[in-house]
């Protein structure tokens, strides 16, 4: 019976202990999990904050700043083990790795998408060793508690069992002793009652408590005090308080006197809760909050000091963390605002103050509406609130108003701050002032669509508007007119009066055009001196007529620029949708062709597009296309028309005439290709070809047949714009060795009419080379006598249109006669062109004409034929 009892007790005891441990394990697990959960929330918040701040830096591709922020954040924030920012290809954009090692780490990963095709992954890892350390401590405490309970229970049970068996013997043997012991114990108990009550009270207090005697030596310590100081009561007893409660100043790190001494001296309560670090016996440091109070009994004598303190290390750590986080937010270059759920502002950073002009105290508690400019559409705000109330982040651009009333654009990133269960606690707005960027964008947009000189829509916008009009026309079954306008002879104004005046003229012309059209109609500048007017919603093609006539009329009035009066006319081409094309470029092209037609009609007029214009333009384009490279392909050649002395019918020279045979287009008349060559500038190389070729040929004829043989070459107005013209002629003459006087250059009145000083200079320089100059096509232009006087002419060529009629038109005959008399009076030689009959020649001879050329003698022929004619004059057609 007796033998069985202890074993029953043992088994019971073991089962009881296992149950206790199991329960303890359960409690411990829940405790640990709670701690980790709390820590994870904190980590998520931090990771989101980091990603929020570096998002904008990544968006600007300022990877370095993002990296700097991460390294700085890692450095300044406690317990961070690693922060990793990785791009999708695995490249580490930033990597902060703490020097401290740790066994337990938790991580949070966030994907940051900073543009439509760019993202990066942020991984933030923190150590949670302290949670496990606390946990170990917790287990140890639990375990010791269980053992204590077990041991107590075991002895209790064992005593009960033993008491049952030996009850009688014990009573008998020890009755007297027990009685004595009982009395003794009662006395002892009553004596210890106060002590126990005090200890229980002290031990149950969470705070550490140390009391001293009136000399400042340790009298009592509770377990919490033992834990923090590292001293056991027994060792510490009677030691001076300074030794046990060893404190230093947190900032200076200098040792500090224990507050006990001061309390003993002053008898007053002292509190320190901010800057005290307690160093335990093992060297561990704790931030503590301590208060020291005198122990006073009824007599007012101070019996000692009671020191109450507790560990605030953790609390400090949190404070520091919050401080560094808020510093990061405070110093962030972007505006940060936090509001409560109702939208009341709770926090703004200094950038917000700087940008908005509001101080934080002016806005705290207010609604962000105070920034509203009233110019952002309600839709934007509705979208914003709908998005953030659904728990998502909103991103967009808002026009806000500063305190001083100035408007500014902000790029805003507004996100709800959620608690772990998904409830919204605050709203966080991170905003950047993008006014400057928006202004630049608007300016760029304007520049992209408007001509900078006239501020009219440019080619791009004009064509865009035309597309719109065409679409409208299609829908409403209406016509659209495209007016292509070109200022006549604008180039001359630019060349003679300079670009400044030209520009002012363009601005004035643009404003006249705008005044003449309806409000909805578009006037655009296509470039240079080309404008476009678009008229939509027409019923008939003829509806454009009054508008264009008005425009032409408007240009009748002279322009006054810088006190200079100028007449500027326009040539207009009109194409109509849908008659002349369905798409803007076709309509524009056809209006352009029509405009060309107006130019050919003598300018200052308008033409509607017709299909035949298309053919003209196509022909022109193919000539232009073929002309490129024609010179190097040897397609040009020269024919020569003999010039014959009227007196004795000797060949005195030839006129060189350019010819072009192209494999694709066949023979092309000079009347057709010379104007195109002038416009494209190809006249310069073609002209040089003629000069070289003809002069070389003339040189050989001079040596072989006649050293007085002259060569005539036509110069086009465009060639005078070539600054090398004169030197080229000089060099060619030198190379060939022919005398200047045997070269005759023919120019028309058109060359002189532009009255450019360079023409005058060139003619004088040519004259100095000894080269003779002939006025060509006399009679077709102004036939101005003053030109003949003004410039160093040597010869006058009467146009064939007059010569052809001298035998049957009296007026022409008199005119030619007068021209010959006048030319002779000026000392000029007279050449009659287009002489076809003997009668004409006879008449010209009577009038005293010097030289003649025409079919009567020969058409323009190749060089070999000229050689044949020179060797045998009889071969001339008239013989």
């Amino acid at each position: 019976m007796l033998a069985r009892r202890p074993s029953t007790i043992w088994i019971g005891f073991i089962i009881f202990m296992i149950a206790l441990l199991a329960a303890g394990y359960g409690i411990h697990n829940t405790h640990l999990q709670n701690e980790i959960d709390n820590f994870e929330e904190e980590l998520t918040a931090e990771a989101e904050l980091v990603s929020f701040i570096i998002h904008d830096q990544l968006q600007k591709h300022d990877y370095k700043s993002a990296e700097d922020f991460i390294l700085n954040f890692g450095e300044k924030t406690n317990d961070i083990v690693e922060i990793l920012l990785v791009s999708p290809n695995g490249f580490k954009l930033a990597h902060y790795l703490s020097k401290q090692t740790s066994e337990h780490v938790i991580s949070r990963t966030i994907n940051i998408r900073y543009s439509y095709d760019s993202s990066a992954t942020l991984e933030l890892s923190k150590k949670i060793d302290h949670i496990y350390r606390h946990d170990q401590l917790f287990i140890t405490q639990l375990f010791i508690g269980y053992i204590t309970i077990g041991v107590v229970l075991y002895y209790l049970a064992y005593s009960i069992a033993l008491f049952g068996k030996q009850k009688h013997a014990l009573v008998n043997e020890n009755r007297q002793r027990i009685e004595t012991e009982r009395q003794l114990e009662e006395t002892l108990n009553s004596l210890k009652e106060r002590e126990r009550n005090l200890n229980v009270t002290l031990n149950s207090i969470g705070d550490a408590v140390i009391t001293t005697d009136q000399n400042g030596h340790i009298a009592r310590m509770n377990p919490a005090a033992e834990y923090l100081t590292g001293w056991k009561v027994k060792q510490a007893m009677s030691e001076p308080l300074d030794r046990i409660f060893n404190i230093i100043n947190e900032i200076t790190l200098e040792p500090e006197d224990s507050p006990a001494r001061e309390v003993l001296a002053s008898g007053k309560l002292i509190k320190r809760d901010n800057d005290v670090i307690l160093i335990s016996k093992t060297g561990k440091k704790y931030n503590v909050a301590v208060s020291a109070a005198p122990i006073v009994e009824t007599s007012e004598e101070i019996l000692g000091v009671a020191l109450v303190f507790h560990d605030i290390t953790e609390q400090k750590r949190y404070q520091d963390k919050i401080r560094s986080l808020s510093q990061a937010v405070e110093q962030s270059p972007v505006s940060v605002m936090i509001t409560d759920m109702e939208g009341r502002i709770e926090y703004v950073n200094s950038t917000f103050e700087k940008v908005s002009g509001y101080s934080s105290y002016e806005v705290i508690g207010k609604n962000p509406k105070i920034l509203k400019s009233g110019q952002t559409s309600m839709k934007v705000y509705e979208d914003l609130w709908r998005t953030i109330k659904s728990g998502k982040a909103w991103k967009g651009e808002i026009l806000n108003r500063k305190k001083n009333g100035e408007l500014y654009w902000e790029s805003a990133n507004i996100a709800p701050v959620l608690n772990p269960s998904g409830q919204i606690l605050h709203y966080l707005a991170v905003r950047e002032d993008i006014t400057h960027r928006r202004q630049q964008e608007e300016q760029i947009l304007h520049q992209a669509h408007f001509d900078s000189l006239t501020d009219l829509p440019n080619r791009f916008l004009s064509l865009d508007r035309l597309s719109q009009l065409v679409r409208d026309g299609q829908r409403n079954n209406e016509l659209v007119a495209v007016l292509f306008l070109d200022l006549d002879d604008f180039k001359k104004i630019n060349d003679t009066l300079g670009h400044d005046i030209g520009d002012k003229l363009l601005i004035e012309a643009a404003s006249r055009l705008q005044k003449e059209v309806r409000d909805g109609d578009t006037v655009g500048r296509l470039g240079g001196d080309e404008f476009i007017v678009l008229l939509g919603g027409l019923s008939h093609a003829s509806d454009a007529r009054p508008v264009v006539e008005n425009l032409l009329n408007r240009f009748r009035d002279s322009f006054i620029i810088d006190n200079r009066e100028m007449i500027l006319t326009i040539s207009v081409g009109i194409s109509i949708y849908p008659n002349d094309g369905n798409d803007p470029s076709e309509l524009l092209r056809n209006a352009d062709s029509a405009m060309y037609h107006s130019k050919e009609q003598g300018r200052n007029t308008y033409s509607y597009f017709t299909d035949s214009m298309n053919h003209d333009v196509a022909r022109r384009l193919s000539i232009e296309e073929q002309m490129h490279g024609a010179l190097s392909r040897g397609e040009f050649y020269i024919n020569y028309q003999p010039k014959v002395s009227v007196a004795n019918r000797d060949i005195v020279g030839v006129e060189a005439l350019i010819r072009w045979n192209n494999p694709a287009l066949g023979d092309i008349s000079p009347n057709e290709f010379i104007p195109i060559a002038e416009q494209t500038g190809l006249i310069i190389p073609i002209g040089q070809y003629i000069l070289t070729e003809a002069i070389t040929m003339a040189a050989s004829w001079q040596t072989l047949y006649n050293d007085k043989f002259s060569i005539s070459i036509n110069l086009s107005p465009r060639q005078f714009r070539d600054p090398k013209l004169v030197s080229f002629i000089g060099e060619t003459l030198n190379k060939s060795g022919i005398k200047g006087e045997l070269l005759e250059l023919e120019i028309t009145e058109g060359v002189l009419m532009s009255a450019h000083s360079y023409i005058h200079d060139s003619l004088s320089a040519i004259n100095k080379l000894g080269v003779t100059i002939a006025m060509d096509d006399f009679g077709t232009g102004f036939s101005s006598l003053s030109y003949l006087r003004q410039y160093p002419f040597d010869a006058l060529k009467i146009d064939q249109s007059f010569v052809g009629d001298i035998t049957n038109d009296k007026a022409d005959r008199e005119l030619v006669n007068a021209a010959i008399v006048m030319a002779h009076s000026l000392g000029l030689t007279v050449v009659a062109e287009g002489v076809e009959t003997e009668e004409q020649l006879t008449l010209l001879a009577k009038m005293g004409c010097d030289v003649a050329q025409g079919f009567l003698f020969s058409q323009a022929v190749d060089a070999e034929t000229i050689v044949a004619l020179l060797t045998d004059k009889n071969k001339l057609a008239s013989r």
């Binding site: 591709h61 300022d62 990877y63 370095k64 791009s87 490249f91 954009l93 760019s118 990066a120």
Partner: protein
């Protein structure tokens, strides 16, 4: 006769006095200090500190006080030397070319030699495993540049790509990331297919996965020039002092306080910058 002579004598004396008058002021002017201008590539304080040893040393050697003036902007610096408002200017190669294109050439004193090279060479980089091997592969690719004013991180490489016909109407617009480091990181992260950086930055990131697909032509280093019309003797004197800086302890110290890696100053002429001149002029045509 005597009278005529005395008039002639008086005239002679008067003329000599008039001629002497301006000359007699000259020595005073010669004592005036010279001004060396620096472009603001660092803060004013930092630059003054870095160039003070040079100004003192050269000033001592030529017997003139030399003052330092830090320009308020690159453009202002160019305008100052261009219009001869400062006596000596320290210039980057692109600034120098911009200056000569606006104001014509100035006497060149010397150029820097960095670690033995009087020129530098940027590189165009891509990711090692991107398949991009030459600049021809960069058609329609995303390109990152550093700063629009930077020779190595924009002007020269941009010209190379332009000449290689890399930009087409479909090309995504290239972007400026501010610094060489951001360009390297932008390429490594995959946000850009290629970028232009200086060799130091390339060396720093090469083992992270960058390769060079092209190097720029050699561009002559930073240089010192003088204003026009400084007396040829003075220019020669300054030039000689600059070119022999590396031969004395104090001179080496003056060089290295500007930049640690400067080994010495070497002779230079406008021709050394001709390739950059062409590049900048050609680039303008494309704008």
């Amino acid at each position: 006769m005597k009278r005529i002579k005395s008039i002639a004598l008086q005239t002679l004396i008067l003329t000599s006095l008039l001629c002497l008058a301006p000359i007699s002021f000259k020595p005073a002017k010669a004592e005036d200090s010279l001004v060396i201008g620096i472009h603001p590539y660092l803060s004013q304080g930092e630059l003054t500190e870095r160039f003070t040893p040079l100004a003192k040393y050269v000033g001592n050697e030529i017997g003139r006080d030399i003052k330092i003036r830090v320009g308020s902007s690159y453009d202002e610096h160019i305008e100052y030397i261009g219009n001869n408002k400062i006596d000596i200017a320290y210039m980057g190669p692109a600034s120098y070319i911009n200056m000569t294109q606006q104001y014509g050439e100035k006497p060149v004193l010397a150029r820097l030699e960095i670690n033995g090279n009087p020129w530098f060479q940027g590189c165009i980089v891509a990711q090692k495993n991107s398949g991009i091997k030459t600049i021809q592969d960069l058609k329609n690719k995303r390109i990152a540049y550093g700063d629009p004013n930077s020779t190595m991180s924009f002007i020269v490489p941009h010209y190379m790509l332009m000449m290689a016909g890399v930009y087409t109407s479909n090309s995504p617009k290239y972007q400026f990331l501010g610094t060489h480091t951001n360009v390297a990181l932008g390429v490594l992260s995959g946000d850009f297919d290629a970028g232009a950086i200086k060799p130091e930055v390339f060396n720093q990131y090469e083992d992270k996965g960058l390769i060079k697909i092209a190097v720029t032509p050699k561009i002559s280093e930073h240089l010192f020039v003088t204003r026009s019309m400084l007396s040829p003797e003075l220019v020669d004197n300054i030039r000689h002092t600059l070119l022999s800086l590396h031969q004395s302890e104090e001179g080496r110290h003056a060089l290295q306080s500007i930049k640690k890696s400067i080994s010495r100053l070497v002779e230079a002429s406008h021709g050394d910058y001709e390739n950059l001149n062409t590049i900048i002029a050609e680039s303008r045509k494309f704008k």
